[in-house]
């Protein structure tokens, strides 16, 4: 899959990406999909707690925070800055 190894975990603060593939084997990842983190969703990295983990993302107007270890299961295509 041509996704260059980019995941939600690799987004910089303020950067956006579109989820292209979710590795859904882990039941915890499936719970995150129920919250709307699925293929086609646009996600923006908003902030991180001290030490960069957990990370906060913006998903269609709502804030959602994930740990890096889970964010790595969401492969993305970064959206160019400035939309």
């Amino acid at each position: 899959m041509a996704i260059n190894g980019n995941t939600l975990a690799s987004l910089k603060r303020g950067q956006k990406g579109i989820i292209k593939f979710v590795d859904a084997v882990d039941p915890q990842v499936q719970r995150l999909m129920v919250l709307g983190l699925v293929e086609g969703a646009e996600v923006e990295h908003r902030s991180s707690a001290i030490g960069g983990d957990p990370m906060e993302f913006r998903l269609f107007g709502c804030g959602i925070s994930l740990r890096q270890e889970h964010a790595r299961h969401f492969h993305i295509l970064p959206v160019a800055a400035g939309d």
């Binding site: 902030s47 707690a49 925070s65």
Partner: protein, 729 residues
């Protein structure tokens, strides 16, 4: 209402007021403004109970419109009808009408957050499949407008199978009246048309129902196909019958293949939601309000964390400083009330019971109502503004280093008010080990019942010197809070490394935008808290006050009375005037002390004194600590009683009496090391029957409450021992 008006009520309306005609469940995402809306709709006409067998609170309110009475059931927030946590299971069971003791709903009030249609529509779409009348309340429409979100209500309603949509603004009350009427008339709302989001699922459901025993709702078939034959779905399987049930697995295999069903469901439904959003939602360029600037700043890691600590420090300072004037007022009032009772009724068992038992006992607990209300006010404000979730996010990494997750921070912070709701709040933690570790750590957080003890001892024995912008008293209080946090964290760490060893718990958290809490809702919640506290003061603490008074008053000694008379006569020979009055007072105080000492409580205190002597406690403190085992705030009531009937009765208020208290050889009992030890003991020990009971309920075994009690008492004892021995050396 006047009496004559009551008489005119026809009998059938009286029965209506007892039983509602219609039951409506309130369903929505967590943080969708669901509870705020529920409070606005039902006001004070609500009752809080529990669902049978579990500790999830059941909130039922009554809505009266004209002559129609509607029962509104506020369900725990959920993202999907595919339940994961205990609270979601409860919500889904009530929605499907399979919760024992709860009516099958006649309709659904779906709460949809206008600023978060994405997750909201995911849930609402599943609610439409219930084949029940649905009314949608669109909340946060003001915030949506502020964010530049425009919503095409008509298209949205059409897309959702024709459900009526009522935009509301909970803060101003706009739209609430129309919504009330719509809920009252929910039976006349047509069942919405089914939306075919996922044709393959519809086909599979049709295959499954061939030859079923009885008709089954589409929503139930969906759950069976997606979640499989789990426990919660057994009732649906029974309706399906054996023959149809056997087809379930082959049909699921064909439908999902190797893809996890929950993942497939989320992928398809959210794709549908995105299509809907594209047609009904218009986003203008966002207008940057104060809300976004505050959020933006606090989103940065360091300012966010520093902000959290500042918020906590302000809360503690406010609790201590703002309440003082009102507390002084209550203190003076109870002291003069007790004195005037004794004065007007004379001395005797009855006036002693009223003045020393009831007024002194209950009064010295009620005095802390201002502090408790201020603390709860802050906790409610932080929760309703969305800040508690942010605290969980900011603290996740720190909590993880002790083997917990950020989700544990909400139960922990709630425990600062009271460990009982705090422990109940651990239900949001899905992992059992994580949950028990949090339950064991939670009672270490300084609860509102510890506050009276801290406040009394600090006010009496710590000087109010200025230290920076705080004073020393505030600083000591802050230190005690910190001590509780550290002890709780170390406990969690210890448990996670030993008895509760296991893999790291998961974490995912919704972070709502900051929002202005609604004052009416805050007030309703605060009133509920005040009621609970005063109810405790009025029942448990009242009963304990009376029992302790009796233990301290009886048995009456036959020898003390004549001895007092003999000494008074003797004094009258050699003294006169003021000197004689002083002598009389001294004799009476000594007599009271002697009576107290040979009472049941005094004897018990003497009996355990050797155990507590290494901590510097005399028999009175020991008696108070014993009496306080069922509820720690009672210790104040007991000290109040013990010292009111003791030898220092003329010293006025309780803190004055404590200061004057001395050992037989004249040394002060309440020295600084002893007070610090006592504070540490109270920071640790688990003197709270309610907490023990809730731990038993939440862990479903006596093992954990017994362990928690022994463990915390032992730590408290050792801490007090250490403080007294090192401090006095």
């Amino acid at each position: 209402m006047t009496k004559s008006a009551e008489i005119r009520i026809p009998p059938n309306e009286i029965t209506l007021s007892r039983r509602a005609d219609v039951s409506v469940v309130v369903v929505g995402n967590p943080n969708s403004g669901k509870s705020t809306l529920f409070n606005r709709l039902t006001g004070l006409k609500q009752r809080i109970g529990n669902y049978p067998g579990v500790t999830v609170e059941r909130h039922i309110g009554t809505l009266r419109v004209d002559d129609k009475v509607t029962e509104l059931v506020d369900l725990p927030g959920t993202h999907s009808l595919s339940a994961h946590s205990l609270e979601e299971h409860i919500a889904v069971d009530v929605i499907f009408g399979r919760m024992p003791g709860t009516r099958e709903p006649d309709g659904v009030l779906a709460v949809l957050d206008a600023t978060n249609l994405y997750q909201g529509l995911f849930l609402v779409q599943q609610l439409i499949d219930l084949e029940l009348p649905v009314v949608v309340a669109l909340t946060m429409t003001d915030a949506a407008e502020e964010n530049g979100i425009g919503i095409d209500f008509e298209t949205l309603s059409r897309t959702l199978g024709g459900v009526p949509i009522y935009p509301v603004v909970a803060t101003t009350g706009a739209g609430l009246d129309k919504l009330r009427h719509a809920i009252a008339d929910i039976r006349s709302v047509p069942v919405p048309d089914r939306i075919v989001v996922w044709p393959e699922l519809t086909d599979a459901a049709a295959q499954l129902t061939e030859g079923a025993n009885e008709p089954i709702r589409f929503a139930e078939l969906e759950r069976l196909l997606i979640d499989g034959p789990i426990d919660a779905n057994q009732a649906i399987l029974a309706k399906l019958g054996d023959a149809a049930s056997e087809r379930l697995e082959p049909i699921r295999d064909e439908l999902f293949g190797l893809e996890p069903p929950i993942a497939r469901d989320a992928r398809i439904r959210y794709a549908w939601v995105r299509d809907v959003l594209a047609t009904v939602q218009r986003s203008a360029p966002r207008f940057y309000s104060w809300r976004h600037r505050v959020t933006g700043f606090l989103n940065r890691p360091v300012p966010g964390t520093v902000g959290l600590f500042i918020v906590m420090a302000i809360v503690f300072q406010a609790v201590f400083a703002w309440a003082t004037p009102i507390m002084d007022l209550i203190d003076t009032a109870t002291a003069s009330l007790g004195a005037s009772i004794i004065e007007s009724f004379g001395e005797g068992a009855m006036s002693s019971l009223i003045a020393d038992g009831i007024i002194a006992g209950v009064g010295s607990v009620v005095i802390f109502l201002p502090q408790i209300l201020i603390l709860f006010l802050f906790i409610i404000l932080l929760e309703d503004s969305g800040y508690l979730a942010r605290a969980a996010y900011l603290m996740d990494r720190a909590m993880r280093s002790v083997g917990l997750s950020g989700q544990s921070i909400i139960p922990m912070i709630s425990s600062f008010a009271c460990a009982v709701p705090g422990i109940m709040a651990t239900r949001v933690i899905p992992n059992r080990r994580d949950r028990i570790a949090t339950i064991l750590a939670a009672p270490f957080m300084t609860c509102s019942a510890r506050l009276p003890v801290y406040a009394l001892l600090i006010a009496a024995f710590v000087p109010a010197n200025k230290v920076g912008f705080m004073n020393l008293q505030g600083l000591v209080l802050f230190g005690l809070y910190l001590f509780g946090i550290v002890a709780g964290i170390l406990t969690a760490l210890l448990m996670r490394k030993t008895a509760l060893r296991g893999p790291k718990p998961p974490f995912a958290l919704m972070l709502p935008e900051f929002r202005r809490p609604n004052l009416q809702t805050v007030f309703i919640q605060l009133l509920g808290r005040a009621k609970v506290f005063l109810y405790r003061a009025g029942t448990v603490i009242f009963a304990v006050a009376v029992i302790v008074w009796a233990l301290a008053y009886y048995p009456r000694s036959d020898e003390i009375g004549p001895e007092v008379e003999r000494q008074k006569t003797q004094a009258a020979y050699s003294l006169s005037g003021e000197a004689l009055d002083d002598a009389y007072q001294r004799i009476e105080n000594l007599a009271a002390a002697a009576q107290m000492e040979q009472s049941w409580l005094g004897r018990a205190g003497h009996f355990v004194e050797p155990v507590f002597a290494p901590l510097g406690w005399d028999w009175r403190v020991s008696s108070a600590v014993i009496a306080g085992f069922p509820a720690r705030e009672v210790v104040i009531a007991v000290l109040g009683t013990v010292y009111a009937v003791g030898d220092d009765a003329d010293e006025g208020t309780l803190s004055g009496r404590l200061k004057a208290s001395a050992w037989p050889d004249g040394r002060r009992v309440f020295t600084l090391p002893m007070v610090i030890g006592l504070l540490i003991f109270y920071a640790c020990c688990l003197q709270c029957a309610a907490t023990l009971a809730v731990i038993r309920r939440e862990t479903n075994t006596w093992r954990w409450p017994v362990f928690a009690w022994a463990y915390m008492t032992a730590i408290g004892y050792l801490g007090a021992l250490l403080a007294f021995q090192l401090g006095s050396a």
